[in-house]
């Protein structure tokens, strides 16, 4: 191995901000990410309205 410094893996838990979100916020995040996953194959999916609907449904 060359004498380059080996990069150090950050110890912060990447998903902590999502996991520790309060109930409705977490639900919104999960639903939005699932929507994005379903449309990942599209180059520019139009999800603005769907995302807005998710927020409105979860925050009443």
């Amino acid at each position: 191995m060359p004498d380059d410094k080996e990069p150090e893996t950050p110890t912060l838990d990447a998903f902590q901000p999502l996991r520790e979100a309060p109930g409705p916020i977490r639900t919104i995040i999960e639903r939005v990410l699932t929507l994005e996953q379903e449309r990942l194959y599209q180059r520019a999916p139009r999800l603005n309205d769907d995302v807005l609907r998710v927020i409105k449904e979860e925050i009443r």
Partner: protein, 695 residues
Amino acid sequence: MRLLSLQAENFRQFKGRTPEIQFGAPGDKPVTVFFGTNGSGKTALLNAFTWTLYGKTSRGFLLPDQVVNNAALREARPGDIVDAWVEIKFEHLDYRYVVRRTVRVRRGTTEADVSPQGEPVTELQYAGPDGQWRVEPSVVDSIGRILPEDLHTYFFFDGERIERLVQPREEERADIANATRKLFSLEILERAIRHVTAAKKTLEEEYERIGDTQAVQLIEEKRKVEADLEFARERFRELGRNVDGARRAEEEIQTRLRTLRAAKEIQERRDALLIDKSARTTSLRQVTSDVSSLISSRAYAVFLTAACTTYRNVIESMRQKGELPAGIKKQFVEDLLAKNRCICGRSLGHEDAHDARQVVEGWRNRAGLVDVEEKAIRMGGEVRQLELQTSQFWEQLGHFQERRRADRQELSRIEENLENISQQLRQSGEEELGKLERRLVDTKTAIERDLLDQGSCNGLIKQLQTKLQELEGRIEKHQATEAKQQLALRRLTAARDVIARIVDSKARFEAKFRVDLTKRVRALFDQISFTPYVPEITDEYALRLRESAGGMPLPVAASQGESQILSLCFIGGVISLAREYQAKKERLPGPDSSHFPLVMDSPFGSLGPNYRRQVADHITRLADQVIIMVTNTQWRGEVEQSLRGRVGRYYVLQYFSPKNEVSPETVELAGVTHDLIKRSPSEFEYTTLSEVGHD
């Protein structure tokens, strides 16, 4: 995605239908090897995957109208339709899929004269755990969900061009970065941030739209009306108290007058008149109420006089025409006509009885008026009742009017007498008497004025109450608006929170992922390469080699071989890291797969023996399934040794050359020699494909 098999017909070099090519399964023998000489169709095979799944082929590989095999076109007659297709079977999660892409052409007079018959068509079918096959109408969407198109760079690649990953063209750079971000869900996080930010903007607009200052103004106005109302009510109560006091004073004065000897007799007369006045007032009130009741319950009859007259005229007119009374039953006439005999005995059936029959039929029409007659009789009774009611109404109203007139007259007389008495008392010679009476008149005037004021005060109260009610309604609506505004604010806050959390997570994940990937690529490169170079992944996910010098890494111009190694290490690193994250569940929603295939065309092309061994050994261990296309020379030696024992299937691409003299090229497997080149029986080149064994 786990690849099961591939079959092709008339696709490029493959004339006719190939056997169904089964691929080595993940496990002990995940490798499938295709042997072929240059030009025998190894790249065509790689392109068979990308053409079928994504409609894409390698740069400069073929034009859409060159898909169909030339020998097949040669053998077809002019005007014949020739199909070329590729069918791939694969598994993903618990589903099996069959995807087939077909292109159809018509042969002209020569084999070079080919006209495409529409665009290529892709069909996708899938079967779930129940084993039933279903057609999937959204082919692109479905395949895109299983293995997004821009990720195919990593899973299906041309080894001879693989250095592009290290030395990408300008337009390819973003594609590579995007594919990497997509595979590790970073793209999902970025898109989520973008879409939630757009939603947040809409929520901000909604919040601003809902908010206004009108509610405050209305509440202020309501307070003012409430104060005015309270003031008016207090004034009303005050006037009431004044009236009560004045009435008590009036009573006292009258009592005092009764006690004065000079006024006693007059006061007694006045008391009697007041009793009469009260009785007459009550009577007048009663008769006025009676008139109202009479009008509301009976007066409608007066307005029906014209309708009654019309009715009589209609009936009279019908009588004059002889239509009423009808006097004959319809059924009776029907019977006569049915029997063809008139009541007079005359036959109605003969030809010369035409006129007589018409007369009898005329009676049938008149008989139809029996219904009208019945209704006319019933209505006649009702009309008479209405007319009687009208005359009774007028009579009773006259009686009430007479009573009202009499009451008014009597009241007027009483008032006049009372005024005379008052005047008499005021002008009395006795000072006290006059004084008392003047006070009494003043008191009455005061009562009358206060009562009038009370009336207008009451009007004002009613007006203010209506206004208050209306204001309360409007305020209620605004309070609802206020609730809406609060809701909009909560949504806005939620959107901001969502964005902040995803941005934070993305930053953390990206930092970790970049370090993990760099480590993985470095480790692989260190195992394979004997150079002192160090791979590095830039912020844009571009791959660089650096040479360590004095502790400061510097960019190096990598050779083609080094670039190829580096690219293979990058692909290996990406795939192994994706598998690891998947296994640890250390991931967000993203391309969901536990199997990653690796289809490589000539991955050892320009590498030296050491590198071939290392690549064959290390890279092929990273994917679940490996499909490689090699020439005999690429295979022999190091690669063969490295992969020994791990190959599930061997296939040979046998190339038929139209040239008379061809140098023999063979591959030996398990002691059996297979020809890779043969003489074509026609002037066309083509390739056949056959399985030749497994480890």
